[in-house]
């Protein structure tokens, strides 16, 4: 009987061990994107995280090889749209051995859980990660109510 937390933990560790050894059998191309594995429809769209920090949303999106000019961000109400296109970088005179990276052009939209203030959106691009900071509109910001 698994009664203690330690037992459960040990069980999970065994499962992880098993998973790692299964990963070892699989060829590399199966492991390139664990999050979207088995979701071919999502290939070519950047993986995105959204965090809620109370007063604002933070967005992180994986956009390797995109420059500032290649990307566009649109915001309206609680709607966020990311789009971009990356051109192929294959220089002249090279023969190709292997092409795995997408020459992708994507559009991805999100409905955020709250309205955002379009004037207070900050975007930065660093090491192939797009970071957005989207301040919520005044009505959507949680407020502390003093008990009288």
């Amino acid at each position: 009987m698994l009664t203690r937390l330690g037992d459960i933990d040990r069980m999970f560790r065994t499962i992880n061990l098993l998973r790692n050894s299964i990963d070892g059998f699989l060829p590399d191309f199966d492991r390139s994107s664990p999050w979207t594995a088995g979701w071919p429809g999502e290939a070519g769209t950047p993986k995105t995280n959204i965090y809620d920090l109370g007063g604002k949303f933070e967005v992180r999106a994986e956009v390797p090889g995109f420059s500032k000019e290649d990307l566009s961000v649109k915001v309206q109400g609680n709607y966020l749209e990311l789009s971009g296109s990356r051109t192929s970088e294959i220089p002249e005179g090279y023969s190709v051995h292997r092409i795995e990276r997408n020459t992708m052009s994507f559009t991805r939209s999100f409905t955020l859980p709250a309205e955002i203030d379009a004037d207070r959106v900050e975007a930065a691009l660093q090491n192939g990660i797009l970071r957005l900071s989207l301040a919520k509109s005044a009505a959507a910001v949680p407020r502390q109510i003093a008990i009288g």
Binding site: D9, R13, W35, G93, Y94, L125, N127, G128, I129
Partner: protein, 128 residues
């Protein structure tokens, strides 16, 4: 009549984190011309300090760690902290002393120059 009870001592070791960093193979493009082999790898979020490239005994190993340093409650999550890891076999014709790498916008460009002896040469035919 004596009663024996099996006593099994439980070891109370502190819990260790179960999940290590997920190891992921980065997507690469490999191109070649007469002078060099050119490798592109997508490593979004990896900084120069967290990327190591080793070449040893004909094996080129790329290892990069990405830490997102996220805060707040995740509303939607598709990417996490990962370890990018991939090993390539490098032909002997590569001059290992002459490899250059640059990392920009999350893309690694690795130039592996061929050694002089491996470059194609045109043979002149002498007329008798």
């Amino acid at each position: 009549m004596s009663e024996t009870t099996a006593v099994m001592k439980k070891e109370d070791t502190p819990l260790k984190p179960t999940l290590q960093l997920r190891s992921v193979a980065p997507e690469v493009d490999i191109l070649e011309n007469e002078d060099e082999i050119l490798l592109y790898a997508d490593l979004p979020g990896v900084t120069r300090e967290d990327l190591t490239i080793n070449i040893d005994n004909g094996k080129l190993t790329l290892t990069g760690i990405r830490k997102l340093k996220a805060e707040g409650a995740a509303v939607w999550e598709e990417l996490g902290d990962v370890e990018y890891h991939r090993v390539f076999s490098v032909p002997q014709s590569i001059d290992t002393a002459n490899i250059s790498a640059e990392l920009r916008d999350g893309v690694l460009r690795l130039h592996l120059a061929k050694s002089v002896g491996a470059k194609p040469k045109k043979i002149e035919i002498k007329t008798a």
